[in-house]
Symmetry: none
Subunit: 531 residues, 2 copies
């Protein structure tokens, strides 16, 4: 059966750039457009040339190889010709392959925001579309507030869509600008619009204000549209746009869609989706949300003991799709609630071969549970778990021994009468029978300890080169400053490796130091240090 | 028109406890059940008594006042009677008002995971339900894998639902255990199930694996179910459960649902939803996601641009619901007016009368914004905000002046060869022109500082009697140990008062000390201490 083509239109660089807290540089935009191009989306909307210097520079040249490079902007204003509208001329003279015009389709906004007549607005749509086509570009029209506009004045909303289509727009995109439309409404309204514009010329642009941007997009596809707009990881104004990263696997892997629709993303490209999502977060300098559908670190993780043993018998019946398809992996978590089979699975992943009848495995599980009862949390600290497991099974060398440490924090007036807070740490370790003492100042006690600990490991020093702390999290487990403190530390090296360690103590400094020691030890182990 | 009742079933403490990275203590569960009870949900599923010590302790007594306190567990095993099934007996003997049994409804899992016959499974459902009812408890059955089971063997899935209903279960809950079912499938399958079990006895339990848990839940309601299961902020195994925080406003505010359905959450309770969501994140010690639908800090924020001026003309046409309804607020970055009226509200709440024309109020707003830009978060630290405000308006005496402090943490071998970690703090303050030095040991640096600071306030000592630290939270704002640290401290006295203070510094000890000083100062102010 020949499948119908469904087009993906990415607006990460345009609507995504409206996200509160995100500011793309030109260089960011160049990197992201490459990521999108390689992912196989059909359109990359790069921004709004004329609106700001970043977008002007970005549109100086074409930034995609395969995807249609698209510029966003407004239709011509009332009372002037296209030739005299600097906004439209800016779009036409840009390096874009396609122009996506935003046009009002709610009569109320035509009056209040544009201050022109309904007819002038239609004329603006038609003339702008024709100008883009005359300039050799593909034209499309984002019908702003389409669904609210349709509810307020169905005829006018439809006439905006129809005008764009009849003027030659390749796509008429129905935008749920305020994000409050519900999926069944989207479905019914799209159905109605197809009586005026064929589905193969309709697109959907959904926002997540009721947490249903993905559902709204898919409802529109079921209603007939053949273009979906969305963004990487669902970034975008307010609550974000439809999440392309969730849409793609559903469209590729769910027979409801994949049986009759085809998108431009191949199986191979799909298998890179997890890293696309995480690399994008890296680029934004934000921690990936591990609960993201399909690509999150926990998306195929099971903690429940009652499920875990059955999962190992037949994963397919516990997973709605195979994690490998999107480059993710199954994880069975070792925790308070889990059993022996979880642990064996986790050990196998660490490359530790263990027999389930080996009594040391059962006793390791006992140790983990005991430690978790005192506050350790190993599911978020894989490196500490691996060290614990390898030590229990007798494999980790004692690279160094901490004899003692001390750290002091002092706040006082300095010689110039300013209040200053100083932190200084001293760490005394023994390596190869030799005692080494290091001292360091830091911005806080943990920073000082971290620097002092890594300052002089003697012959092992080159094995921890580039080790760096990325994140540091503290959780107080029972409340109050004298309660148990759990510290989670994320570290990385220069080779793209990241690992997590944990420390627990009544004393926050002590807990931090444990996690620091685990981090350094893990790095030494991975780098094959020998004693 | 009489509206039909739709019931909210919260499983934050059961399915939410399966979240990777979340480990609730008994104390956490007690606080959360109170939050849920006050929010107006109908059922609070507290956990799985018998599965772990935390849940055993939590179910020792009833933890809700209004909501039905519900225990989760498995139906009886094949080959034994209910009376001889310790799992079922544990549920029956718990303090729960209701029991939610999980039962297989996919024949494949009956065979593979349970290893019994289809008939034995049905018998287990019926007997378990009857036993709960005989014990005076409300019974319900979670049909695990219902949708996948229905697709594989419709008749068997339906007979599980029917058996539960006919045995007397108040609710038969259709679970999308693997989370891969799509909204229109949910709708159609629910429709079919209503031919066997009335909609008023059906529930939906959806997961977010395709980012459609909310849409699936609402599709099920449209199909006829009258109970929705979900969790606070959508936590839960893998990608999470249906997000109760998104469902509630949609059900309350969208005419499609609110015209004919009624939930147990009042308008007043709805207006506290934003703070419920944020307080829950605080409790989990995680940064609230500012893009959350309805309650996120950015949910009603618009970056100044093409929308900005129109929004000021008529906000309603740019917002799908009014932010005030859920206790959130509009953020239009072109105007400070909203900020000022918020601050006046806040001051009034503290009992501070201020005129909006008083230039000190505007400058206070500026100071707050500046401090928030450096990392302070006054939303969660009312006592620190009140001190800042009263100081700015010139009202807080300087009860004491901190000259200096120092704290040392040392880990070493003691005389008996044991490793010990010691913390000692020295605080030097001036009261009434007299310098006082105090020294104290503590379980960690902050505990030592806290004790030393409160040890000798001279004539003010009796004013801080019973002051106690309840909770201490640390958040690293930029990642890494040398980043900005924010400390939130919760304090209480013997009279049932609780207050929150904040400190921010590059140095965790310094930040903690700021929050401690604010806590003591606030207490002195409230107790009417005079200099």
């Amino acid at each position: 059966m020949t499948k119908e083509r469904l087009y993906l239109f990415d607006t990460t660089l345009r609507d995504g750039a409206q996200t509160n807290g995100i500011n793309f540089s030109v260089e960011d935009k160049i990197v992201i457009s490459k990521i999108l191009d390689e992912l196989g989306v059909d359109y990359v909307e790069g921004g709004y040339p004329g609106a700001n210097p970043t977008d002007d520079r970005f549109f100086e040249k074409k930034r995609t190889e395969k995807a249609t490079f698209t510029a966003f902007g407004m239709t011509k204003r009332a009372g002037r010709s296209v030739a005299n509208d600097p906004g439209v001329q800016g779009l036409i003279n840009s390096s874009a392959d396609a122009i996506c015009y935003v046009a009002k389709s709610w009569d109320y906004h035509v009056k209040v925001a544009l201050g022109c007549t309904n007819e002038e607005n239609l004329e603006g749509i038609a003339d702008s579309v024709k100008a883009a086509i005359a300039a050799g570009k593909e034209a499309m029209v984002d019908c702003e507030h389409f669904f609210d506009g349709y509810k307020a004045n169905r005829d006018y909303a439809l006439s905006c869509a129809k005008t764009a289509y009849e003027a030659g727009a390749r796509w008429v995109v129905l935008c749920d600008t305020n994000g409050g439309t519900l999926p069944h409404e989207v479905y019914e309204i799209v159905k109605d619009v197809t009586s005026v514009v064929p589905g193969n010329n309709l697109g959907i642009h959904a926002h997540n204000d009721t947490e249903q941007a993905v559902a709204n997009s898919l409802a529109a596809v079921r209603g007939g549209v053949r273009q979906i707009q969305g963004t990487l990881n669902g970034i975008g104004e307010r609550c974000g746009n439809a999440n392309m990263i969730s849409l793609i696997p559903t469209l590729k892997l769910k027979p409801e869609f994949s049986d009759h629709l085809e998108i431009g993303v191949s199986d191979e490209q799909l298998s890179r989706l997890t890293s696309v999502s995480r690399n994008f977060d890296e680029l934004l300098n934000q921690a990936p949300n591990r609960h993201l559908p399909y690509v999150g670190q926990s998306a195929f993780a099971t903690k429940a003991g009652i499920h875990a043993s059955a999962i190992l018998k037949d994963p397919a019946t516990y997973e709605h799709v195979a994690p490998e398809a999107i480059g993710n992996r199954r994880r069975v978590l070792v925790s308070d609630q889990a059993g022996l089979s979880n642990l064996l699975d986790e050990l196998a992943r660490m490359g530790i071969k263990a027999d389930k009848k080996d009594p040391r495995v059962a006793s390791l599980l006992g140790v983990i549970k005991e430690r978790e009862a005192t506050g350790y949390a190993y599911e978020g600290a894989g490196a500490s778990l691996e060290l614990l497991a390898r030590r229990h099974l007798g494999e980790v060398p004692e690279y160094f021994k901490v004899e003692s440490f001390r750290v002091g924090v002092e706040r006082r007036f300095n010689a110039r009468g300013e209040i200053v807070t100083m932190s200084e740490a001293v760490v005394k370790i023994e390596i190869d029978g030799e005692v080494r003492m290091s001292v360091a100042e830091g911005q806080g006690p943990v920073n000082a300890l971290d620097i002092a600990l890594r300052k002089d490991l003697g012959k092992l020093q080159d094995k921890i080169k580039n080790l760096e702390l990325v994140d540091y999290k503290v959780r107080i487990l029972n409340g109050g400053t004298s309660a148990i403190t759990r510290v989670l530390i994320e570290s990385r090296d220069g080779q793209g490796n990241r690992w997590f360690t944990v420390g627990v103590s009544e004393n926050i400094v002590d807990a931090s130091f444990q996690a620091l020691v685990d981090s350094v030890t893990y790095k030494l182990l991975k780098n094959g240090a020998t004693v």
